[in-house]
Point group: C2
Chain length 333, copies 2
């Protein structure tokens, strides 16, 4: 069956064609199309489309019946990245310049909006060509709309946390659940709906997706602090410089001495922090047991995610989802 990355590539390949068919690169006006497609063209694992296609198969459906919706999930993800990059003033993503850095903010805002519009057009194209009762078709639109709204809520929470370091773990999880978990849940849920899954199966796959997304984000936090730069692709400690609310930082602030807490607060969000200060901050976090704590949390979410889909009958789709779950916490990139 190949490694999980090979399996994911297999799914991703099927989606690539849809991405190009649904948002052709010669659509006028060209600058808008180029800006909208920029991050999609820069690559990526097509993680959310893979989740949808595997979930579709896990309930006995055919991946071919979910292709446009899988592509829609990539459009949706890409739209959030473009707008996030504007808000965070990030200059690079996926080793290329961000959209607003190249085309300016106004075009970047519209480029994201255009992708968001394509999401629903792609789903409509999918639902037009396959047999399905009206109620289920509407549930697919409803799932994606509500997930999109929740992503906005999560992103807003993240922004509103700025200037606050007393963010509780529950608040952190709510934010992450919105920013990341809502879309991974929607991915597996619409996959299951398109595959003809029963209500229980759809719920199980939705739950799996939500938990997976949360674990994915926590693991990202871990890699950003305790990973290896050459594998992770981003400078280690940049989350600290940017003052990102990560589970590790929040845990460390609560579980270290008053003095070290003071030091952490000085470094967190300090764009000019020296390499040595970053290194010291990371050491404090490690000694406070915060990296271990986050790892344990991520593994708990993954174990729970896997348990949700355990009752599903054996299939390639289910197998892929179980492997994706393991990969999510084991990856080094």
């Amino acid at each position: 069956m190949g490694t999980i990355l090979e399996l994911m590539q297999g799914y991703a390949k099927k989606v690539e064609k849809e991405l190009n068919r649904l948002f052709p690169s010669d659509l006028e006006p060209l600058p808008l199309t180029k800006a909208s497609r920029h991050l999609i063209d820069a690559g990526g694992k097509r993680f959310r489309p893979c989740l949808a296609l595997a979930a579709c198969e896990a309930v006995g459906g055919r991946a071919e019946d979910a292709l446009e919706t899988a592509a829609a999930l990539e459009f949706l993800h890409s739209f959030t990245l473009i707008h996030d990059d504007i808000m965070d003033r990030d200059e690079f993503r996926r080793n290329v310049k961000t959209v607003h850095t190249i085309w300016g903010e106004p075009i970047a805002i519209i480029a994201g909006d255009a992708l968001f519009a394509k999401v629903f057009e792609a789903i409509a194209a999918n639902l037009k060509r396959i047999k399905m009762e009206k109620r289920r078709a509407i549930e697919i639109f409803d799932t994606i709309s509500k997930a999109s709204f929740e992503i906005c809520q999560g992103q807003a929470l993240d922004m509103l946390f700025e200037g606050r370091w007393d963010v509780g773990e529950d608040e952190y999880l709510k934010m992450v659940s919105g920013k990341t978990g809502a879309l991974t849940e929607a991915s597996t849920k619409v996959g299951a709906l398109l595959g003809g899954g029963g209500a229980g199966q759809v719920r199980a796959l939705a739950d799996y997706g939500r938990l997976l997304g949360i674990a994915f984000q926590i693991k990202d936090d871990i890699l950003g602090i305790a990973g290896k730069k050459e594998k992770f692709g981003k400078p280690i400690g940049s989350d600290i410089r940017e003052g990102k609310r990560t589970l590790i930082a929040l845990h460390a602030l609560k579980n270290t001495s008053k003095e070290k807490r003071k030091f952490l607060l000085k470094v967190l969000g300090n764009k000019n922090a020296s390499e040595e200060e970053l290194h010291m901050a990371i050491e404090i976090m490690k000694k406070a047991g915060s990296v271990n704590y986050a790892s344990r949390k991520a593994r708990e979410f993954i174990a729970l995610a896997k348990s949700k889909i355990a009752p599903l009958p054996a299939s390639k789709g289910k197998d892929v989802l179980l492997k994706i779950a393991d990969f999510t916490v084991e990856r080094e990139f």
Copy 2:
């Protein structure tokens, strides 16, 4: 039957409740909700919802069956306004400060995105509760998604025109058709679809909506140059200062002397143009016949719009749409 404004108020009232039910003002996080609802709460004629409800009735449907979708059109319109204001750096709209001026750009971007997400949630809520075949339901989603995409294309064209004064009338019309006509077309089209209209009726109402939107924008251009400030609400000539590509400006540049053209190019887009320069520019435009030309164009589009729905059987909905068409070119605000 009352004046057209009273008739529109009657429709608008029905939508108000839906706007509040679908996007309650106590939704967390509150700053996001407040920012998203800001322009909606500031008022407005609910022009697009009115178009949808009247179109629904014009094909024999009940306005009650289209309420959530009508609200969705207001969410969609409001989303485009929030993002447009960011792009144009406008400080005021509907006599209140713009969203980004109050909450900052990042929250304003998400506030727009959240409204956009609500559009499809609202439509899903509508379609869930009424009887309709799957194909028609999907066509409603498809119509709104494609219109949203076209709005982005129109907005992008508008931005890409910057720095160019050789924009042809066809290009201008394409831009306006996208920025304004796409959504008015979608409004009447989904209204007709929800009202159970036949294919020919749906097409006729869609065409009416498109033509109406284009005329609406041309009339806006006219009021911005030849209107009365106290009625129009915006300072006369601000379009000139902002360098907006209007049908009037484009026509004048082609139909005046070389010398006056040079003067116009000096004033157009000059934020520091004096009142006297503005006044002179407006006089040149009037003398070039450009205001008359635009008025004639707007009236042509309106006559064509009305002719499209002429074959529909008499009804209150049809009557309202005909009156809206007249109002569009006759209004002074």
